[in-house]
């Protein structure tokens, strides 16, 4: 019997993309849902309470003036769908956050935790009794305490650092850690440390390589999966149309050594592609979370030793 996996990654706080991910099991008739890393958002949108039920916020450089609770609720949902966290505050509170980085950091932390808790509750409700598996592995952008919230779910299995049994005798070994980036994210380390980490996880696997799936957030270096705009690490600006390979050499070496049947990656949203590294099919479905589109990949394993087929999707 074959196993159908659906893999998506880098939803970055987009409520729309999270919900689509959970609903994709039915949509694509998948047996197992796998979410690669980076599930938390990147920004807070302050919604200024002007009093009298009136609010103002800016979204994508456009000013929005709201009147009433219904309008507020709609806008908050739109902001969440975009991957940002809407927070109602007074002008004084906004100024405080502007001038106090620690306070702002606490705000982010609180919003991230609250959102993931809500997501987990919604997923539990949807997945209970549905008969499909859901594995989520946080990524380098996600703080470590997110794992505990995911682990509290009745339906979601946490991928980070674990080897998880899949149907038909396959196993999934995952890690959301990456090689170093310009942004000093919570889960990044240099290549030797990353390689040791990944090797430690893979060593837990008990199946042969042709039944092993790797879920590694960082894409393998110098492939079509890791091409990103070249960035100046100081100014964080893009250098013209120059691009660079920013993937991990550690990930590539492990894939080359272990030769699993499949490796699933994310991290570089622009590099939507699939490549063969020896016998391994390595896939990065990319990410289009900004526009609320869930980029993903359907993979069918034939239950024996072959990868039957795969297909990139945009839902």
């Amino acid at each position: 019997m074959s196993v159908r996996l659906f893999f998506a990654t880098d939803v970055h706080g987009s409520e729309a993309c999270w919900r689509k991910f959970i609903n994709s099991a039915k949509h694509y008739e998948a047996d197992v849902l796998i979410l690669g890393g980076d599930m938390t958002g990147k920004a807070v949108v302050p919604i200024i309470d002007n009093g009298g039920g009136k609010y103002t916020f800016h979204m994508q450089d456009v000013r929005h003036d709201l009147d009433g609770a219904d309008a507020l609720a709609l806008s908050q949902r739109a902001i969440r769908d975009h991957g940002y966290y809407p927070v109602v505050m007074t002008p004084e509170q906004r100024n405080e956050f502007s001038s106090d980085p620690d306070k702002l950091d606490d705000l982010f932390h609180a919003q991230m935790r609250r959102t993931v808790e809500e997501w987990v509750a919604w997923a539990d409700e949807r997945l209970t009794g549905a008969g499909m598996r859901c594995i989520v592995c946080p990524g380098n952008d996600d703080r470590p305490d997110i794992d505990g919230i995911l682990a509290s779910s009745s339906e979601i299995e946490v991928g980070e650092g674990n080897v998880i049994d899949l149907p038909e005798g396959y196993q999934l070994a995952s890690s959301g850690w990456t090689n170093l980036t310009p942004w000093d994210t919570p889960r990044e380390e240099d290549e030797p440390a990353l390689k040791a980490r990944i090797e430690g996880i893979v060593a837990q696997a008990t199946v042969s390589p042709d039944r092993l799936v790797l879920g590694l957030h960082a894409p393998p270096y110098d492939t079509q999966l890791d091409v990103a705009p070249k960035i100046d690490w100081e100014s964080l600006t893009i250098q013209g149309q120059d691009s660079a390979h920013v993937g991990s050499t550690a990930v590539k070496e492990v894939i080359e050594q272990v030769q699993p049947i499949l490796s699933l990656h994310g991290h570089i949203h622009e590099s939507r592609a699939a490549v063969r590294i020896g016998r391994t099919l390595a896939i990065n479905p990319g990410s289009s979370y900004v526009e609320g589109t869930l980029s993903g990949c359907i993979i069918e394993l034939d239950g024996k030793k072959k990868l039957k087929r795969y297909r990139l999707t945009m839902g």
């Binding site: 990147k42 979204m59 769908d81 919570p186 893009i238 297909r311």
Partner: protein, 583 residues
């Protein structure tokens, strides 16, 4: 606690992975290259077919409508930035079949036809004039032969393939240098025209014509032609202009070309014709060079907001308006120094030879390249060759884009499994080998057809060359598809519309963006209507219809095969792009 801190409208995490922007010049450069000045020169020459129309006003009107195109494409890119262009926009908003069929023809199949067109342009505007300067007249004549054009097309295919194979990074660098060197050449041409008096220009023109096309290099054909009482040339039953009594000649090449201008009824002013219907019928010819500021305009990064939408517009606007202004300035300078009717006579002399076979040009069957004739102002062969070659980089620097656009389309179709997985295969060195083969081999076949198909008796060019403008038609049909998709995005892709930074205001429930898309679509329909109904553009014939029909049927067959295959595999094509429900 009140502070003097600026009002912050967005708090971004430190470890966000967000970049702060990209170079403002990049989008402009791509658009500028795409609204290509060589295509402009070539398109301007087609105005000789509609002497009653105003070239100036046709360019202005076209530019106004292309501004609408810029809004449409900036909107599509802003709403679905990493989506992969027209193919995915149409697939997402209409369906898989429509998206693939229209985009496969527009971004893949029809680009095969562009390779011999580019080759022909490159030969006529650059290589032949350089060969004449060097005295390589045998080689120049050979380039005008069927085999010469075919070999030139093979060279274009090779250049385009190499530019893809070296990778985007290297190609982008080459393009950057090509643009600056080409622009420097354009500026030098402008300065030369400005500082040269009309009489001096004519003197230098005649000297070069004599040197490169007369004397030992050949025979300058200065024979006079019979004119009627209105001053127009008189033609015999076979369509050839009638020579006057043997021995009667024009004093020099320029005088002859002035006579060609008046003898063929060319207008005396670029404004003549005003906003008449004739002017509007020039627009499809202008679309050949002006329709492309949206070519290759993509964004990186994730801070996508209204500013990015506006930035995209400004860059594409710059890419449209700068070459348009240069072209209008060029027309102005030619009018001032050369005389508009004489300039159009130069263009007419080429087309009358190449299509009607009547040799009214002093320099025989050669196209009088504007870049070459301006270079002749400086009577130094090395300078002339360098200037012509430098400006030609504006054309050669764009060749790679031809295949790059197609490889993206092929990859997208492979990812969606309309094409097999192998179509997106890339070597370890990053060369998209299969996609290149899918472009190279059909382009070679198309080049052979362009060069070797029989000559159309009425138009005097090969059958495939006759429907050169299908190269524009195929792409305009695709643009129409994308414009219609954008027009209905609010309703067909509501979640994408809502989450985008596009202006949402409108009238009677229709967003202004949809209204703009509707007007632009109507403009495209107008152009397509003229292409299809008027024989003037060379595509209103059964052979062209068969050619285009074959392309669309081929795309349909590919899609159907994929549909059946994937359905059997349990992966319906429609499911790939169908939106997953959120609730």
């Amino acid at each position: 606690m009140a502070t003097n801190a600026p009002e912050q409208t967005l708090f971004v995490r430190k470890a966000s992975g967000l970049v702060k922007g990209w170079s403002g010049g990049d989008g402009f450069r791509y658009s500028f290259f795409s609204v290509n000045l060589f295509l402009a020169i070539w398109s301007i020459s087609y105005a000789t077919f509609i002497p009653g129309g105003s070239l100036f006003w046709s360019i202005v009107i076209t530019a106004i409508f292309i501004i609408l195109e810029i809004f449409v494409y900036a909107g599509l890119i802003s709403a679905m930035p990493r989506a992969g262009g027209d193919y995915v926009w149409m697939t997402r908003i209409f369906n898989s079949a429509i998206g693939f069929i229209i985009a496969a023809v527009g971004w893949w199949f029809i680009l095969w036809l562009w390779t011999p067109i580019y080759a022909d342009m490159g030969v006529q505007t650059t290589i032949k004039p350089i060969f004449r300067i060097l005295g390589l007249n045998g080689a120049a004549d050979w380039l005008g032969s069927r085999t010469g054009i075919f070999v030139a097309a093979l060279v274009v295919i090779a250049i385009a393939s190499i530019l893809v194979a070296v990778g985007m990074k290297t190609y982008a660098r080459f393009q950057k240098w090509a643009m600056w060197i080409g622009l420097a050449g354009v500026i030098i041409c402008g300065i030369l025209l400005l500082v040269t008096s009309g009489s001096s220009f004519k003197e230098k023109f005649n000297a070069a014509a004599e040197k490169y096309y007369g004397g030992d290099n050949g025979t300058l054909n200065l024979q006079k032609y019979e004119t009627d009482e209105s001053g127009y040339f008189v033609y015999d039953d076979t369509g050839l202009a009638i020579n006057t009594v043997e021995g009667q000649t024009y004093p020099d090449a320029f005088t002859q070309l002035e006579a060609v201008g008046s003898g063929t009824g060319m207008p005396t002013s670029t404004f003549a014709g005003g906003l008449s219907w004739a002017t509007w019928t020039l627009i499809p010819f202008m679309m050949f060079w002006m329709a492309w500021p949206n070519w290759g305009a993509t964004l990186y990064g994730e801070v996508r907001g209204a500013k990015d939408f506006r930035k995209n517009i400004y860059q594409m606007l710059g890419g449209l308006l700068v070459p348009t202004s240069i072209t209008l300035a060029f027309l102005g300078l030619m009018t001032w120094k050369v005389g508009y009717q004489a300039f159009m006579g130069m263009m007419a002399s080429w087309w009358y030879y190449s299509t009607a076979g009547t040799n009214i040009s002093p320099i025989g069957g050669d196209y009088i390249s504007p870049t070459a004739m301006i270079s002749w102002i400086v009577p130094n062969a090395a300078f002339q060759i360098i200037l012509i070659a430098a400006i030609s980089l504006l054309l050669f620097g764009w060749f790679g884009t031809l295949f790059l656009s197609s490889t993206r389309m092929i990859f997208a179709a492979a990812f969606d499994r309309i094409l097999p997985e192998g179509a997106a295969r890339v070597t370890s060195g990053g060369v998209p080998v299969v996609a290149l083969v899918l472009m190279t081999i059909p382009s070679i076949i198309m080049a052979a057809l362009y060069a070797y198909t029989p000559i159309d008796a009425e138009k005097g060019v090969t059958i495939v060359k006759l429907f050169t403008y299908d190269a524009t038609v195929g792409i305009l049909i695709m643009f129409l598809g994308s414009a219609l998709a954008f027009m209905i995005m609010k309703w067909r892709a509501k979640s994408i519309w809502d989450s985008s930074s596009l202006p949402k205001r409108g009238i009677a429930g229709f967003p202004w963006m949809s209204v703009i898309a509707a007007i632009y679509s109507a403009f495209l329909v107008f152009n397509l209507y003229l292409f299809v109904t008027d024989a003037l553009y060379g595509v209103n014939n059964s052979k062209s219809a068969i050619f285009m029909g074959i392309l669309y049927v081929a795309a349909l067959v590919i899609w159907l095969i994929a549909w059946v295959t994937r359905k059997r595999q349990g992966m319906a094509l429609e499911a790939v792009a169908k939106e997953i429900p959120v609730e």
